[in-house]
Symmetry: C2
Subunit: 224 residues, 2 copies
């Protein structure tokens, strides 16, 4: 069952799982895309559906009771593998591979295909919001100030085309347990969407994130 | 290739496609969930991966060049089947089945499982934004004022748990080509996220949406 869980995974075990689940989830992403775009005949659709039902039953023979959660090993290496934006094992996630700088600046390049469509041939405005929420949160986290989104505002400057895109985000300012982050999505012609968000690490999340209760593991900037 | 396309689909043909692609996409959604949660052994993961690669190749033997787009039949029945939130053929979409009132009020009940996770056992803040962007846009459209999101602001009142949820949205006010919509997501205990958005139908989208150029088909409130 989900939770911020610490386990004993070694770097070698993590590398093994990345090599196993990464390509596996990637083909599920391909299937999501093909499901939208296929024009094969009805009999083939029905045949594939039956095969998929069998595959799902086999995968469910042994499975987690609930969502994946966020796991950490003893060295603090996090595995948010069920996350809707960056999750290695989540076929909904593009997934974003985000470069993080300790200054609280993050960036990534990514490709959005048919599954991320809103208006014809354009990225769904809510998908841009989904990606920017993650990016701004990652900026806060990269700067040592992880938090939950309190408010998020998106400014849609122009339509974002499906295809190759990039995004970046950074910490704009901080005040006590509050962190304001800004970010944007760009296509080849420049900025399409800008975002600003306020992130706060509430006590309950702080206790979940730092379950030892060891104050030394709580970022000093969040101490009450 | 995508676009606002009008076609000659009859109600019977649409009903047939709903019956074919609805259950097909539903099993792909199940697969996305099982991909995150499965604990079967490595050999089974590799075997399933190979089977899925074969299935994807078969589905891609005949497929659209690009995204699905948004299609309409002669009576104006819309099929946004590739849409990331409501798309019948999009396994990323929960999908939301939204009840629309002509007053511009919309509501829906839905279930979010493991694929929509951000913090452990909680809905990803960006997923709430994705859903609310669609809901507010649907409210504008239901009230006869379809538009593109110009700005969207989310207020996260408390964490949203994965599971059974409901959402509603409505038109708050209008001014020329601008429509302001508000909405919220609720769990059993009440509101978790609130949103307000500004929607505008730009000229290029108006021309895409009403390609005949017949002014009579353009909502009067959008005439320049």
């Amino acid at each position: 069952m989900g939770g911020f869980q610490q386990d004993e995974m070694t770097p070698e075990q993590i590398e093994h799982e990345v090599g196993l689940y990464g390509p596996f989830t990637e083909v599920v992403r391909e299937l999501v895309d093909a499901t939208i775009r296929t024009e094969v005949d009805d009999d083939e659709i029905r045949a594939v559906q039956a095969e998929l039902e069998d595959i799902v039953a086999r995968l469910r023979r042994s499975q987690l009771d609930g969502p994946y959660g966020v796991r950490f090993n003893a060295t603090g290496h996090g595995r948010p593998w069920g996350n809707s934006v960056v999750g290695l094992r989540n076929a909904i996630a593009p997934p974003l591979a985000i470069e993080r700088e300790s200054t609280g600046r993050v960036r990534c390049e990514f490709h959005l295909g048919a599954a991320y469509e809103g208006p014809p041939s354009l990225v769904h405005g809510g998908v841009s919001a989904l990606i920017l929420d993650q990016m701004l949160g990652e900026a806060a986290g990269a700067g040592g100030r992880p938090g939950m989104t309190a408010t998020l505002t998106l400014h849609y400057r122009r339509a974002t085309p499906l295809g190759d895109l990039r995004a970046e985000a950074w910490i704009e300012r901080t005040e006590g347990i509050k962190t304001w982050a800004h970010g944007r999505i760009e296509d080849a012609e420049g900025v399409t969407v800008e975002a600003e968000g306020l992130f706060i690490l509430p006590r309950w999340a702080r206790e979940l994130a730092f379950p030892t209760g060891d104050a030394a593991e709580t970022p000093p900037s969040y101490a009450e």
